[in-house]
Every structure is written in structure tokens, then in C-alpha cells.
Amino acid sequence: MKKLLIILLLAVVGYFLTVSMSNIKFGANRMGDLSQPKTVGAFYLSKTPGELSVANVITAIVVNYRGFDTLGEVSVLFLAATGLGSILYKKKKKGEHIPTVNKPSSALLQAGSKLIFPAILVLGAYVFIHGHLTPGGGFQGGAIIATGFLLMMMSYKDFTMNHSVITWVESLAGITFASIGLIGLIVDHSFLENFLPIGYINDLISGGIIPLIYVAVGFKVAAELSGVLDTLLSIKEK
């Protein structure tokens, strides 16, 4: 009975969404003329190569035009890690180590992950360092690095994340991000203002503060995600 009612309700919601989406033509160009931008999308596409020298427009948006969102986003992740820590907080006895996995993994997996781990780290670093040139960036790279650590945690019973290091990396990366913003405020009167020379497009060193911020974001995301995983994995099993 309740099922029927809910399906009925959802049918209405679905109809509503379908009707509203049917007004939005798929694949239509809503951005308008790029030379005289009326929409933000067009503006970003037309201005990015010239004014920021960043090849990846999305990176330009995420880090520069809407860098403030990204700062918020990084804080959300930071908050999630903190909140997770506080919700699952448990006083640990000194020196107590809670194994992340019960049974030791197979030797093959252990050896394999040991091999692949540095490669993952390098991949992650590559992704966020080249965030302004190619697809990818701080979030993706950070997530990839966290996956690497996850792999280690899963395969080695005794693998522990060094909490102190995580905290340091996390904090320093966050501080870097916020400080770069504040320097912009001091130097150019606008928070997160791009105060460095922008260089030439498609160079590794181009885009002013954008790569810097993305690297900071990468470290921060990596540290936070690893922290989250570590917190979750070290819950004492029932």
C-alpha cells in the first residue's frame, strides 16, 4: 500500500522533472556568441586562453573564476574528515594498533601493491600537477593518491598512516590555499586574485597561481581522503 503511494508520488515527481527537462533541449548551444559573451560559460571559454593562459578551462574555472567555491569544497572535505573523526572518535590506548584487515592478504597481492603503490603516487602527482593542462587536477590526483594508500592499507595488516604527517600535510596545504588567496587580497585587492605572471598557454609553468593552488588542493585532498579511510578502517570490528 505504502509502496503504491510512494510510486505514485515518485511518478508525479518524475513527470515534473521530465516536463521541465523537456524544455531544455539536449545539445543546444545556450552559451551564445563567444566573442561577446552574455553567459558565464561563453565568457570563461573566451577569456581563459588569453587572460589566464590555462589550457584546461575547467581548471581555470575551478581554481580561479570560482576558486572561492573550491575553497569551500576543500573545507567541506576537511569538515567531513573532522566530523567523521568526531563521530567515530574513540580514545585509543597508547600504542594500540587496530589492524585494518583481519587476515593477512596473499603474498601476491602484497608484492603487487608494493610494486604498484609508487606508480599510483606518481600518477596522482602527475594528475594534479598537470591539472591546468590536461583533464584532472587536485581532486582527481588527490583521490588517486588516497586510493594508493588504501591499497596499502588493505594489503598490509601493519600498514599505518602516520597521523602526524597527515595532519601536517592537510594543514599546510589548506594554509597554503588560504594564504595564496590572502596574498592576492593584499597585493591586488581581491581575494584569490592571480598575482603571478600567467606565462604562456600549455606550458607547465603557466596560469600564475592556478597550478600552485591545484597542487595544494591535491595534497590536501589526498591527506583528507587518506585520513577518512584510515579513520574508517581502524574502527574496532564488532
Binding site: T39, V40, S86, I175, F177, S179
Partner: protein, 501 residues
């Protein structure tokens, strides 16, 4: 460094990132630093409010991209007033939670980080001039609220937090869809630009988007059928967090709602919707409050009910009504803050925080009981306390609009409110003291915090003019849509803008 609105966001964020390191230096720093940061924000508020009162709205551009291309913060008399109010309340709450015993037995570092980010999130919601940035700050607020609700890690805290999270996720989903649809229609995320282009949007799309916003933000603003999470979250969160919900978070939700209705959209019926839903919220919440056993839950319902009055007043939409509404928001923050703070000390050691155990606490905890009674007198709008003036303004505005039935409703519900508040006050002073109840001595910070709020209640009650000039400016700023758009987008074409009220 020039003082600018972005300090409200950047400085607490910087401090939050710094705090894990500071904790390694000295544990006490984690408790002190948030206070210093909020104190600094208070200074920023004073400076900026003076500027705003003298020269009008400040628009701060982020990353050097002028509106509508980049994100901007709008520090108008209205948003500035709310931000300053939130900062002040945050400082009081910080004082209250400093060395708050129950919080202190938990990881204080995490508590203060979450608390500071909660404050930042709410202030960000109010200040931002970008709709997606609004969403991001909403999420910051939401995640820190969820975590703080479950901060005690007891059974009911987790339950309340999960309910909040479930409904809160709905809210973010709806708001996201609304932003998405809005973007397809206007091709921008800047609120002023959206307001300018709104008249080109077909009406049915407007309504569709508006509905999604109304449901999403209604959840944050605790509108009636959407507020099931609120009583649980208020009552199970640590007391300082309960205060924060009442004083900051719900204000941010209401702000979002009225910003959408007043500035972004020009749809007929939205104001009437606010009135009707506000009235329903008011009635449902206050009537549910009267049967509550738990003090904090009762306060939570009362808080929801007051938000209903705020919505009604905004829905009336005349300058006087908006003035009353903003005044009530201020009063509610202060008074409900005092009630939550004193109330939670009263029920500190009682089983299930129930009212029936409070008999005779007036003798045992005279100061706290006095604060509670003062709050109770003020919140039901008895003169000469702060709550009276806002109520009077709202009623006058309603009467000028010939809404006599509505006034009767508000007043009728106020009687209910009087009943349940005075029941508690009567019990506090005149019940026979129960044996063996252990009193909790409040911290010095707590006493100072409560005294500050009590003084504000008395001062505003006896001499409302200390606050009314700011509120008048705020009301004017909120209602003057063209002025808002002009200050953000100086070159915008204002001819098409409709002001429905």
C-alpha cells in the same frame, strides 16, 4: 590589509586549517583561537557596518573577476546586519562553549573546528552573491551541523543527526536541481544577473525552479512539513550547538528563502505562500510544543514557531513588516540563545532533559533560573523586553494590510506559547524541590555569555533605538531590489525589473 567582507570567510578558514597544528603546540590554543578569530570578525563587522551605514552596499569581488563573471560577496545593510548579528552570537556561543563540561570531555579540537566552520558557513550563506557559492556554504553549514549534532556520540545524537542528514540531503538535491535548471535558463550564477534576466524566463520554468528552491530552502528554514528533523537535532545536539542552530543556522535558511523570493524571482503568489506556510508552521510547531516533556525539545518547537512568524512577516512584505521580521530574527537569536543556554544548564543532569524534574530549581540555581525566566518573558513578547517590539511591528504591519485574522492567529498561538513557557517558569520557582538532583555549576564563560544576552534583551527592550536604525536600513536594502542589482552590476538594465511589493 584592507578590511573587506571576505575576511568573514578567509580568516576562519585559515584558522580552521591551522588549528590541528596549533593543537600540537598547546591544547588550550584550540579553545582560544576560535574566540580570537570571532573577536576579529566582530571588529571587521564594526568597521564594515560603519562603512555600509555611511556609504551603502559594499560589493567585494573574488579573484579579480567582476560580477557577473566571478563570485562576489555583497555586504549590504541587510546582509551586513545579519552577518554582524551572527558574529556577535557566535562570540557569545563561543564564550558559552569554552570549557563547557560535556563538550570538554570530548575532542575539543574537532568541536571548535566544526563550530567555527558552522559559523563561517552561515555567514557565507548570507554574504555570497552567487547562487552556487550559496549552495557550497549551505553544504559547509550542513556537514558541520550533522557532525556536531552527533558530537556526543550517544544513541539519540546519532539518530537525530541521521534524520537531519537524510532531510538535509534532500534539501541539497533539490537546490542543486534548481540551480541546474536556473542555469539553463539564464546562463549565469550571479544572483543579481539572475534577477535581471528573470523576466525572460518562461513562467512555467520560473515556477518549476521556484518550487524546488522553496522545498530545498524550506527544509533549512524549518518550514512546516519539512521540519521533522529540527526538534530532534536541536534537542540532541550539544547545548552550544543547539543555540547555534537557533541563532545562526535557521537564520541562514530563512535568509536563503527570502533572498530567493524577494530578489531572484518575480513570481506572483510567493509572498502569499510565505504567509500561509508561515502560519501553518507557527500553529503546528507551537501546538506541538505544548505537549513536550523535554525542555530542549520544547524550546526547539518554539524556535520553529518563531520562524513561522518571521516568514509571515516577510510574506506581508511591506517595509514595516520586513522591519518587524528582521527585528524578530535578531530578537529570536538573542532570546532563544539565552533560553537554550540557561535551559540546558537547568536540565543538565535530569533524566531525558524532562521538564517535570525542574521543580524548585529556582532556589537551587537562582541565576540560571532568572535568566530562563527573563528569556521566557521576552520570547512571548511581553513588554518591556526585546521580543515585544518586534511583535508589535509585525502586528501593526499586518493590521495595515487588513489581515486581522492573521493577527488573531498569531496572538492566539502566543497564548499557547505563554502557557508552556510559564508552566516551566512556574515549576522552576514554585514546585517542590525534588530530592537528590545534582546541580551543574555553570562555567564562568557561560555565565558571562548569558549575562551579555540578558543585558541585550533588557537594553533593546527598554530602548529599541539602539538597534532600529540598522534594521531600518536592512529592511530598505532587502526591499530595494533595483538597488541591490545596481550595486552588484552597475551597468545592468533595470527597466525590466519588477518589484512585486
Amino acid at each position: 590589509m584592507v578590511i573587506s567582507p571576505v575576511h568573514y570567510i578567509a580568516v576562519p578558514l585559515l584558522a580552521a586549517f591551522l588549528m590541528p597544528l596549533l593543537a600540537k603546540i598547546h591544547r588550550e590554543l584550540t579553545r582560544i583561537v576560535p574566540g580570537l578569530v570571532i573577536l576579529y570578525l566582530g571588529y571587521v563587522s564594526v568597521v564594515l557596518m560603519n562603512q555600509v551605514m555611511a556609504h551603502g552596499t559594499i560589493v567585494e569581488v573574488i579573484a579579480g573577476w567582476n560580477a557577473p563573471w566571478g563570485i562576489n560577496l555583497v555586504y549590504s545593510p541587510f546582509t551586513g546586519f545579519l552577518a554582524s548579528m551572527m558574529t556577535a552570537m557566535a562570540f557569545v556561543i563561543w564564550l558559552y562553549s569554552y570549557r563547557f563540561k560535556k563538550v570538554d570531555s570530548q575532542p575539543a579540537l574537532k568541536y571548535f573546528i566544526l563550530f567555527m566552520m558552522l559559523v563561517t558557513g552561515t555567514i557565507g550563506i548570507v554574504l555570497t552573491g552567487d547562487i552556487f557559492n550559496f549552495f557550497v556554504f549551505l553544504e559547509i553549514t550542513a556537514i558541520s551541523s550533522y557532525s556536531l549534532t552527533a558530537f556526543y556520540r550517544d544513541r539519540d545524537g546519532a539518530e537525530a543527526a541521521f534524520k537531519y542528514l537524510l532531510i538535509g540531503s534532500f534539501a541539497s538535491a533539490f537546490i542543486l536541481i534548481a540551480i541546474l535548471l536556473l542555469y539553463t535558463q539564464v546562463g549565469t550564477l550571479n544572483m543579481a544577473q539572475i534577477a535581471v534576466r528573470m523576466h525572460d524566463v518562461p513562467t512555467h520554468m520560473k515556477i518549476t525552479i521556484l518550487i524546488l528552491f522553496l522545498v530545498g530552502l524550506g527544509i533549512e528554514a524549518e518550514m512546516f512539513p519539512l521540519n521533522g528533523w529540527a526538534p530532534d537535532a536541536y534537542s540532541q545536539a550539544p547545548s552550544p550547538v543547539g543555540v547555534t542552530f537557533a541563532a545562526l543556522v535557521v537564520k541562514a535558511g530563512v535568509y536563503g528563502l527570502i533572498r530567493i523570493i524577494f530578489t531572484l524571482f518575480d513570481v506572483h503568489g510567493a509572498y502569499e505562500y510565505l504567509i500561509v506556510m508561515g502560519a501553518i508552521t507557527l500553529v503546528m510547531a507551537e501546538l506541538a510544543a505544548i505537549r513536550q516533556k523535554s525542555l530542549k525539545r520544547m524550546l526547539a518547537y518554539s524556535s520553529i514557531g518563531q520562524m513561522g512568524v518571521v516568514m509571515i512577516a516577510f510574506g506581508i512584505g511591506t517595509n514595516e513588516a520586513v522591519f518587524g521580521a528582521i527585528f524578530l530574527m535578531f530578537n529570536h537569536a538573542v532570546i532563544k540563545g539565552l533560553l537554550f543556554m540557561s535551559g540546558s544548564y537547568l536540565v543538565y543532569n535530569t533524566p531525558n532533559k524532562e521538564i517535570q524534574y525542574l521543580s524548585g530549581y529556582g532556589m537551587k540555581m537562582p541565576l540560571i533560573s532568572l535568566f530562563f525566566s527573563l528569556g521566557a518573558l521576552a520570547i512571548v513578547g511581553l513588554p518591556p523586553f526585546a521580543g515585544f517590539w518586534s511583535k508589535l511591528y509585525i502586528l501593526i504591519a499586518a493590521a495595515d494590510n487588513q489581515m486581522i485574522g492573521l493577527i488573531a492567529l498569531i496572538l492566539g498561538v502566543s497564548i499557547v506559547e505563554i502557557v508552556y513557557y510559564f508552566r516551566v517558569v512556574g515549576r522552576l520557582y514554585f514546585g517542590k524541590p525534588s530530592k537528590g538532583s545534582i546541580m551543574q555549576k555553570p562555567t564562568y564563560g557561560g555565565v558571562i555569555a548569558m549575562s551579555l544576552l540578558a543585558i541585550v534583551i533588557l537594553v533593546v527592550g527598554f530602548y529599541p533605538d539602539v538597534i532600529t536604525p540598522y534594521i531600518h536600513n536592512a529592511a530598505d536594502a532587502l526591499l530595494d531590489k533595483a538597488q541591490y542589482i545596481h550595486s552588484v552590476l552597475p551597468n545592468a538594465d533595470l527597466s525590466q525589473i519588477q518589484n512585486l511589493k
